[in-house]
């Protein structure tokens, strides 16, 4: 009994010591101790810490310890830690909450690249009323992914990989029709086409709420005002979104897509029954897990070329006693050289401008990485890297608006009624406009 008591006390002491050690502060070695939070499989913590130890070993002023939290509960866990006064010093942030968290005081509104010679691209900079508060560690855009075998089998040329040759929306629909087959091999252009029994779809557009913004822009509309302070959802935006749902409702070239699934690639190209589908650059990384031979092209467009940027940001949290050291570490962490794994695998594009302009660096992360080389690299350069720099590519709403989390919650739920055809996008937006305005206002 006594022995058990002693063991219990020892365990409690170890836990308390662990907690104390995990909280930021200056360690006995005189080094500043930082805690860095990131999402991912908690089982990978050891590997993550090994990567951070490179930073710990290259200098003797700062030591960083990682805590890894499952992505589906990441924000909730951080908020709980913040409520308990035990927030990490710095970490990744859900894109949708970055501006809102800054306004609540969870994120310190500091530019970690202030005074630095080079900065990440402006399109992946989170700004609250013009003030920089965070940067994405990756620079993502959307693309059109296609199954080469399906195009070859139908005798249809691959989609264009340059903005200059991009398809207009009607061309996209026409090609999608040539690639859509029912069980008898008929396409939507054939009179005997059986829309109830489609075995291969020509197109898939990722309808996960935030990705739908690109079609509003493509049709000349907007979701948010330029200053991020008000909801727009004008007629052009509504029409652009309706065009997407009509791929399924009217043209019979796309599977039903309620927009409830984040990972569109796995439900389109990866599922093996769709010839081409839109999704983010990170789809390059799926090559390692899939036998499907796929390529990449530029998005089709409606009235004007459009694309949107994305990428998880890192930020300095309010609880830290060492904002300068946290900023220094985040700069190190955000450097493509120090995050080479996800870049090489295809999950991330580099965040710094020079990686898009320096030919040697371009070759290193595009031509010399197998998952991009197989697309092939030349297509990736024009369909992804060039697009990331093009003026038609704009920051997603979450880079400059607060409360996009609540806006997305309303959009995801309500737009599924437009997806199934029970309402038009115009009807849906008319119904939820007051809710969207209230959600944005917070």
């Amino acid at each position: 009994m006594k022995k058990a008591k002693i063991i219990a006390i020892l365990c409690a002491a170890i836990m308390i010591l662990g907690l104390v050690a995990a909280c930021g502060g200056s360690g006995s070695s005189g080094r500043v101790e930082l805690v860095f939070a990131l999402w991912g499989d908690p089982a990978e913590l050891e590997t993550t810490q090994e990567a951070l130890d490179v930073f710990n070993d290259m200098q003797d002023r700062i030591r960083v310890t990682a805590i890894q939290i499952a992505q589906e509960e990441y924000s909730e866990r951080l908020l709980t830690m913040a409520a308990g006064g035990n927030m990490p010093d710095c970490g990744m942030v859900d894109e949708r909450t970055a501006i809102g968290w800054t306004r609540e005081g969870l994120i310190l509104p500091i530019d970690i690249y202030a005074g630095q010679p080079s900065k990440p691209k402006d399109g992946i900079t989170f700004k609250d009323n013009g003030q920089t508060v965070a940067y994405s560690v990756a620079s993502e855009v959307l693309g059109l992914w296609f199954n080469k075998d399906m195009f070859d089998a139908a005798g249809v040329p691959y989609p264009p990989a340059t903005l200059e040759t991009a398809w207009q929306w009607d061309e996209f629909i026409e090609v999608a029709k040539q690639l859509t087959f029912d069980a008898n091999g008929n396409t939507p252009n054939d009179p005997d086409f059986d829309a109830r029994n489609i075995v291969q779809y020509g197109a898939y557009v990722n309808c996960w709420a935030w990705q739908m913004e690109v079609w509003a822009l493509s049709n000349g509309g907007r979701w948010y005002s330029q200053d991020g302070k008000s909801i727009v959802f004008d007629a052009a935006a509504i029409e652009g979104m309706q065009n997407v749902y009509d791929l399924y409702l009217v043209h019979n070239v796309a599977p039903f897509n309620a927009g409830q699934e984040d990972n569109g690639w796995w439900f389109s190209i990866g599922a093996g029954n769709v010839a081409m589908g839109t999704d983010g650059q990170w789809s390059t990384g799926f090559a390692g897990d899939s036998d499907i031979d796929y390529g990449v092209a530029v998005l089709p467009y409606m009235k004007q070329q459009a694309n949107i940027t994305a990428g998880g940001p890192v930020a300095v949290f309010a609880d830290t006693d060492h904002p300068d050291e946290a900023a220094e570490f985040l700069r190190w962490y955000s450097d493509p050289e120090n995050n080479w794994g996800p870049i090489e695998a295809g999950w991330w594009m580099p965040n710094m401008m020079n990686w898009f302009t320096d030919e040697a660096l371009l070759k290193r992360w595009i031509d010399d990485t197998p998952n991009r080389a197989r697309l092939p690299a030349s297509s990736f350069r024009t369909a992804m890297a060039d697009v990331a720099l093009h003026p038609s590519t704009q920051p997603t709403g979450w880079y400059y608006t607060p409360n996009t989390d609540q806006v997305d919650r309303i959009l995801i739920a309500s737009l599924s009624e437009a997806a199934n055809g029970s309402k038009t996008v115009a009807q849906v937006i008319e119904e939820v406009r007051p809710a969207l305005e209230a959600a944005l206002a917070g």
């Binding site: 005081g105 739920a413 599924s416």
Partner: protein, 311 residues
Amino acid sequence: MKKSDKPPKSNMVIKEQRAAYVFLIPAFLGLSLITYLPLLAALFVGFTDLTIGHMVRGEAPQFVGLKNFIDIFTNPSIDFFNSILVTVYFALFAVVSSVVYSMFIAILLNRRIPGRAFFRAVFYVPYILPAVATIISWSFLLRFEGGLINYFLVNMGFDRVHFLSSAETVVPSLVMIAVWACGNLIVIFLAGLQNVPRTYMEAAEVDGANFWQRFWKITIPCMTPIIFFNMLMSLVVNLQIVVPALAVTSGGPGKSTMFMTYLMYHYGPRSGQYATASAIAFLFFMIAAILAAVLFITSKNWIFYEGGDDK
């Protein structure tokens, strides 16, 4: 008899009462600390403007009166009135369906059939499966594109159904899943059925009562306390529905699965707007309490206690 004419309590009664109080202390402490105090705290926070920002900045929240309680009904981005409707609709639908289904299955499993133990396990297993795994598995079966059930429907010549992606069918589909997973109710009904006095049945059989007459006149009245218990438990569990909205429907289509607990999650753990979440939580408690009270009050008219209710 006048109040003062009550006979004095015997030592035995007093001892029993003391023992009852002693044994109630742990439950009372647990309930007070884990349930009633947080409930009071939620009520208190609901009258303030507390957000995560106050906690981080170390600022005291301000008292705002009934503002949060008014906001949750008038702010269109919350629309709590809709959440009450969809939650109560789901809960009542699920309670009635679950009780009827589990009673029916329990009666079948109470008969002498081959493999009875196996079938009892089969019907109980869904209850112990993790809720998230269950709902995600069902969502794959019910998918409009590539779902197994729609595959069979198409092959039988029917149109596909938007089980989880239409405002009209999503709640009935979720009720079906809730009913499928109500193995606990079946077990409780089974225990109840085995306690229906054989003497009543035998007497009825001697009097020439057929199966239905015995079922309606003996089984059901004897089972009313169990039916009441199962309805109450089922009501409480189903009012707390949140997993389908979190894992599959995201509150849609439209607002058809924007359940109260889902809103609570979004404004509480997800957004750190604790005052709004607390106001929702407190009203949720009140609604659950009212529905339970209705069940309790009406139960006096239909519950039959064989040995009296020990008033």
